[in-house]
């Protein structure tokens, strides 16, 4: 990099117009993908699938959408190692946090329909 001014990604700000143009095209593609995935998420909910299947599909679609936002809008696809280290640590603790209810629940099931003892639980609230 020959510029005096560098942003935190190591890019020379202001003199990489072609790079930025390429980024903008990616942003538009990601935007379209996010819109399509949002429509898919809503459309699937109208199929009234069983809770375990619906949860699985919804979370997979949400994970894809979240990865697109984090990867491209937040530039995680081309970040510095230290950011990856921070994120890896965060993900590890996040997984433990989400696993706690599963581990502490008496029958080990986190989807009501899958729990034999709670098979009757769907319906009125």
């Amino acid at each position: 990099m020959s510029s005096d001014h560098h942003d935190s990604s190591g890019h020379a700000a202001g003199d990489h117009a072609a790079d930025i143009d390429k980024h903008v095209r990616v942003y538009i593609t990601v935007f379209i993908a996010l819109m399509v995935l949002t429509i898919i998420t809503v459309a699937i909910s109208y199929l009234h699938l069983s809770v375990p299947v619906a949860v699985t599909i919804a979370m997979i679609v949400a994970l894809i959408k979240g990865s697109l936002v984090a990867g491209y809008f937040m530039h995680l696809v081309s970040e510095q190692k230290l950011i990856y280290a921070v994120m890896a640590l965060t993900v590890a603790f996040f997984v433990v946090l989400l696993a706690l209810p599963v581990l502490t629940h008496e029958n080990g099931y986190w989807i009501p329909d899958a729990a034999p003892a709670a098979a009757h639980s769907e319906g009125a609230h």
Partner: protein
């Protein structure tokens, strides 16, 4: 005294201080929302019955809000890209659009909340609504916080661009990282609360 490493990159981290700061903050935010999601799972699993979100909440309205928030993420990243191209006028337009999208999101949320309050559906009504208000309420506070910061950079904070455009561009990138995180949280809140 000047703040160090606002523009230039630190050799040991490969980053400027603002960026590592905002990512550490976002890491703490992941744990905050993670704790609430974990609580939601625990409450839902422990409940003898649980309603589908679409039997209580307005899915078309929330779908509209999802599209609004995703659009605001695009305008936010375009605002940063405009600064990278040294197009300050375009930055103002995109940042203004981001703030307006945030405002639209809040207005829609106001109508959603008002409807529930009008029919007596307060947080104390049942566990589902308690979880709904807690998660969406905290998320809404984040939207408001992000809008305040973005409005500062659109208005008085933009003076920095005249004296140090690179520092200003970095600041906008960091506020953008927060804004995208707010979008990311909604991407998970929407299906878990409204559709499942």
């Amino acid at each position: 005294m000047d703040i160090p490493y606002t523009v230039e990159v630190r050799r040991d981290t490969g980053l400027n201080n603002g960026k590592i700061g905002i990512w550490l903050f976002l890491a703490s935010e992941v744990m905050l929302f993670g704790a609430l999601f974990a609580s939601y799972i625990l409450i839902r699993v422990g409940s003898p019955s649980w309603p589908r979100g679409d039997t209580i909440l307005d899915v078309p309205l929330a779908t509209f809000n999802t599209i609004v928030l995703i659009s605001s993420s695009v305008t936010m990243v375009m605002a940063w890209a405009s600064l990278m191209r040294r197009q300050f006028g375009k930055f103002r337009i995109y940042m203004g659009a981001t703030i307006l999208f945030g405002l639209v999101f809040l207005i829609v949320k106001y109508f959603e909340y008002s409807h529930h309050f009008a029919i007596g559906e307060y947080p104390s009504h049942n566990n589902f609504l308690a979880v709904y208000y807690t998660l969406t309420g905290l998320h809404m506070l984040h939207v408001i916080g992000g809008m305040v910061v973005n409005a500062y950079f659109w208005g008085p904070g933009a003076k920095l661009y005249q004296t140090n455009p690179v520092w200003f561009t970095n600041r906008v990138e960091h506020s953008g990282l927060f804004w995208h995180f707010v979008d990311l949280v909604w991407i998970f809140l929407f299906p878990t609360l409204y559709l499942l």
